[in-house]
Structures are given as structure tokens and as C-alpha cells.
Subunit: 142 residues, 2 copies
DNA sequence: ATGAACAGTTCTTATCATGAACCATAGAGG
DNA sequence: CCTCTATGGTTCATGATAAGAACTGTTCAT
């Protein structure tokens, strides 16, 4: 690995870490308007784009331990935004669904999230925009 | 905004959020080997690529409130990895520096971080790789 | 039936997040 | 030389998050 390579790698690392903070911090900003924490905000967004989700899948999406997720769902349920529903087919699994209020909040926040991400990538050249999703998915799926 | 646009935006949002989790979770994985939390790991990495840093700059880089950063620096200092040093020119500011042990840990973890990020982007076509840093920086700097 | 695997919960401990109040220092202007 | 204001950090209190271990129920294959 040459000097130039190292430097480039270091800059890429800085950039990617900065971007990641930027993206996840959005949930903070956006949630604040609804008096939600970042995690609660991401939770309702994750649910609304999937309609209803298993706890275990939520854990994977949000990178949370199951014990941790239990607490988050507790707090968000107490806030009246979501509810748990047992799967009658397999009574071990529980689905998370939005309440009516939860749906409203989630619609608003998720809309804001996608709007901001859109604004972010809007600065990029058109052909890069088109391939960006694919590129990012490819990066992540490993 | 058309239907197709909306769908594309939604997928992009999922992808970017997934990538961000992936990137920041790295600090978790890598830190675990050294019995460090994700934040402590990112802290020492942030210091080693900048040699010494003001508290206030660290807060910006890591998206932390100053009170929060104070605690993190406390804990990491207690672990023996960093130390604070007052700026004699302006006695309000304090710089964070690595101890000898901190430098070793930071070198190892930072190397691992860049290696993993490199592996991530290695899957991408060459011309995308070349422009990626620039693209990501442009996305973030707004 | 029995036992292994799975999905969630609960508990404990340390860490992190946030805002408000606070302290010390620096840099004006009068 | 004094205020006044701004700045950089710390401290404190409270709630939220992280991680692991032990536990409850449920399913499924012997």
C-alpha cells in the first residue's frame, strides 16, 4: 500500500464516518420536533416503511440487541405510537405496528427523512445519483 | 415527484441508513477487542489522525454535546489512553492527546477501521472508488 | 414425552444524551 | 483599571441506550 493509497484511504474513512454521523443525526433533529429520541424516530420510520415488523427483524435493521430493543419498544409504546401484536400462527413472535397517532408521526418524520437525504444527494451529478443506491446497497450487503 | 421517484428515494434512504449503521457499528466491533466502547474507539481514532485536538473540535467531529464529551474524555482518560493538556496561549481551551498506550491502541484500531472501510469499497468499480471520497465529502459538507 | 432451538422479556451495570447552571479565562469598551 | 460579554469546559440531574446473563413461553423434531 503506497503513501498515496494510505492518504486516500484515510480521507475516505473520515468522509464515510462523517456521512454516517450526519445521516443518523438526522433522526435526532427530526425527532426533536415531535419530542422523540433518535431511536424512537428511527423506530417508527422503520415500521412505517415495512407496515409491520417482527421484533427480531427490527433488531437487525437498527443494529440493536433484543434486550435493548425490548426497552425501546416499551418506551415508544408508552408514548402511544406503536403497539405489539402476537402472531397467532407462531406465538413466539410479536409484530410491532403503528397506532393511529404513530402513523401520523411516522408519516411526517419519514417524509422529512427522505426529503433531507434527497437534498443531500441532489448536489451530485445525475449519473452518480442513479447508481448511488445500488452502490450503497452493494457496500452494505457484505 | 413521481411514483418512481418516491420509490427510489425510499430505497436510497434505507440504503444510506443501513450504511451509516454499518460504518458506526464498526467502532463497536473493533473496540470490543480492546475492551473499548464504540465512542472510546472513535475518540482515540479521531485524536490519532489529528495528533491533538481541542475538546470543541472533537465535539463537532463526533457530534457530541460538550457536557457529553467531557464525560467520554473522563472515562477514556481514566482508562489511561488519553490526557488533557491546557493551552498556555489561551487557558480556556484544552487539547486532548494520546498517551503511549493510547497511541498503540489507536494505531491498531484506526488501522483496522480503514482496512474495513477499504474492503467495503473494494467491491465497487474502479472509477466509482476514485470519486467516492469526493462524492461523500460533497454530500456531507452542506 | 423430552429436549433442543427460538423469540422476547427482565434485570443489572455501565455508558451515553441533554439541558441547565456554573467556573475560569479572554477580549472588548469605557 | 474596571465592567460586560463571549467563549471553552466542567458538573449535576435525569432519562435513554448498550450488553450480557438468566428467565419464560412456544415450536418442532425426535
Amino acid at each position: 500500500m503506497t503513501e498515496i493509497d494510505t492518504t486516500g484511504t484515510r480521507e475516505l474513512a473520515k468522509a464515510l464516518v462523517g456521512l454516517s454521523h450526519h445521516v443518523l443525526h438526522m433522526f435526532n433533529d427530526i425527532g426533536r420536533g415531535h419530542d422523540l429520541t433518535a431511536q424512537q424516530t428511527e423506530l417508527v420510520c422503520a415500521v412505517i416503511v415495512r407496515d409491520r415488523v417482527r421484533m427480531s427483524d427490527l433488531g437487525k435493521v437498527m443494529h440493536l440487541e433484543k434486550s435493548n430493543l425490548s426497552g425501546l419498544v416499551d418506551r415508544t409504546e408508552k408514548r402511544g405510537l406503536i403497539m405489539r401484536r402476537r402472531d397467532p400462527e407462531d406465538r413466539r413472535v410479536t409484530y410491532v405496528e403503528l397506532t393511529e397517532e404513530g402513523r401520523q408521526v411516522a408519516t411526517s418524520t419519514h417524509c422529512e427523512v427522505t426529503r433531507r437525504l434527497n437534498d443531500l444527494v441532489a448536489q451530485l451529478p445525475a449519473e452518480v445519483q442513479l447508481s448511488l443506491t445500488e452502490v450503497v446497497e452493494k457496500i452494505t450487503e457484505s
